[in-house]
Every structure is written in C-alpha cells, then in structure tokens.
C-alpha cells in the first residue's frame, strides 16, 4: 500500500521484497530520499517492536500543553468530571475565542493516537462557535489530563509480521 501526502510517501505491505522493489522503481523515476523504517509522519511517532507497533504524538502533546500555558499546573486522572453536563450557553462568552478554537482543533488531531479523549473532545467541539469560560475550563482539564498521561501510546500488536518503510 502506498500513501502520499504532498511530498512524503509511506509504503507498507506484508512483502518486504516487494516494498524494496517499489522503492527502487519510484527512485528511478523521481528524485527522492529513502528515510528507512517509518518513525515520524505528520506529527505521529511510530515505534516498531517485535510484539507490535506503538503510535504516539508525544511532541505534539508537549506543544499543546505549552500552547495552553499549563506546563506547571496540577494534573488530573480523568479527562472529564463525572456527572457534570455541559450546556451551550452556560457561563460568560469568551471575548476572544481563538485560543479555545486552536486548542480544540489540536485536540481533535491528537485523537488519532489518543482515543481515550475522543468523547470529551467531541463534547467541547460542540461549543466551538460560541465558547464560554466554562467550556475553556473543560478544555484546560483535558490538557491537564494529558499532562498526567502523556506516556500513553496506542499499541497495535502484530497478529503477523508487518513491515513499514518510508521515503
């Protein structure tokens, strides 16, 4: 399988020889550099082991925490408070909603490797048009949860051997 994003290409498949052959074929027609086994692609970090593949966005999380300005804050165990429902027009509207939008957008991208925050990100995404201080507090709690759990990675255990390569 061949995946192209602008000028980055990922090739994957069950046949290593075939991957190698495809690389050679592409290299003969286009000017490109072989970066070896896949490690980093669009902010996603891959770590391949004999038992499977780990996916994480460690660097992305650190940037997100910095963007929210919560490097020093206290961290929490869960992304969302239990038994609290959030409403559209609860609290004072933010005078400048751009930080909220930026954070929620980034959190959305982070759900690729962190499905554990998917529900809460779905919740805060609903208020993106007119966020209030209360909604921003929810977003900050997610970031504080990430601060605590940044080491969590998606693990894709191998059922059979798979190899990844990237150019």
């Amino acid at each position: 399988m061949l995946l192209v994003y602008v000028d980055d290409i990922v090739i994957t498949g069950t046949d290593t020889a075939l991957i190698f052959q495809l690389q050679k074929r592409l290299q003969s027609s286009f000017h490109m550099k072989n970066l070896g086994p896949l490690q980093y692609f669009l902010g996603l970090e891959m770590h391949s082991t004999t038992t499977g593949i780990f996916l994480n966005q460690y660097k992305y999380i650190q940037e997100l925490i910095t963007l929210a300005g919560l490097q020093e804050g206290r961290s929490v165990d869960t992304p969302l408070e239990v038994n609290v429902k959030y409403r559209r027009d609860e609290g004072d509207f933010l005078s400048n909603p751009s930080l909220y939008r930026q954070l929620v957008g980034s959190l959305n991208y982070l759900t690729i490797t962190r499905p554990d925050i998917f529900f809460v990100v779905q919740q805060v995404s609903q208020f993106i048009q007119a966020p209030t201080h209360l909604h921003l507090a929810v977003v900050c709690r997610i970031v504080r949860y990430l601060h605590r759990t940044f080491a969590l990675r998606t693990f894709l255990p191998c059922g059979f051997s798979y190899s990844f390569g990237c150019i």
Partner: protein
Amino acid sequence: MDSPIRLVAYSDADWAGCSDTRRSITGWCMFLGNSLVSWKSKKQDQVSKSSTESEYRAMSSTCSEIIWLRGLLGELRFSQVEPTSLHANNTSAIQIAANPVFHEHTKHIEVDCHSIREAYDACVISLPHISTILQTANVFTKALSKHRHHFLVDKLMLLNHPASI
C-alpha cells in the same frame, strides 16, 4: 486469502446524553485482532424515546461501519468469512435487531435503522451480548470515574511505553 485476524465491534449509547437537545450519544469501537482500528463518539441525529431505542440506533450505525470495513478488508485481501461480532449490552435492542417481528415501541423508527436486520440475516454480523462492565465502547459515550476510565483505556490498548524518548 482467509484472514486469521478477525474484526470485532462494540457499540454503546448514552441515552439523552446531550442536555441541550436531549439527544443520545453513540459510541462504538472496532478492533482488528487486538488492534483498535476505528472508533466514534457522536450525538445522534434525533431524540430517542427510550434507552433501547438509542442503543438500537447506535448498533445500526456501528453496523454500517462494519459493512464498510469488511469491504475495505476484502479489497486488501483480508476478507472476513465469519460474521463480525457486534457486542451490545442492551438485550432489548439486540432482540429488535435479531427478531424482525412487529414491536409496538419501535414502529416509529425509520426504515434505514432496520438495515441492521438485513446484515444480521445475511450473516454479516452476529449480535453477542456483553455485560455493561466489559463494554469497551462505554468510554466513547460518557464521563467515567478514574477506575473505570483507566480500565477501559487499557482495553483500548493504550499502554505506557517507557522504552522510547
């Protein structure tokens, strides 16, 4: 080629989870072998009159994803021969899908939702019951306690991996 790796799905709903509209939240996730490959958390597009109805709507949208994923896997030559297990924790909703008799409480549910019955009859899906405790998709429908949250995070195969960085 018959794939030794099976697709498995979990479907859950939080009835009237949205306090603004009283609509329910659909949550589902799918594993290929032990790997999480697809998941969703979404507000349903209309109000459900019962929790069973909201679970049924969730199962129906999960079923659509299963059909699509089975097609994709077939194209990649990992055809799923066996029906895909769609684990749900609401026995009444399972009954509505598996038993195509007239149900007084479901006569208002739109036709498209009932496509799950056809998938069940055609052995595209099977409908095993799962206890609420083991329902992995629960994490995509509501806020959970610390213990419960981390129990399900584990099931999603999110691990602490200290080896790198």
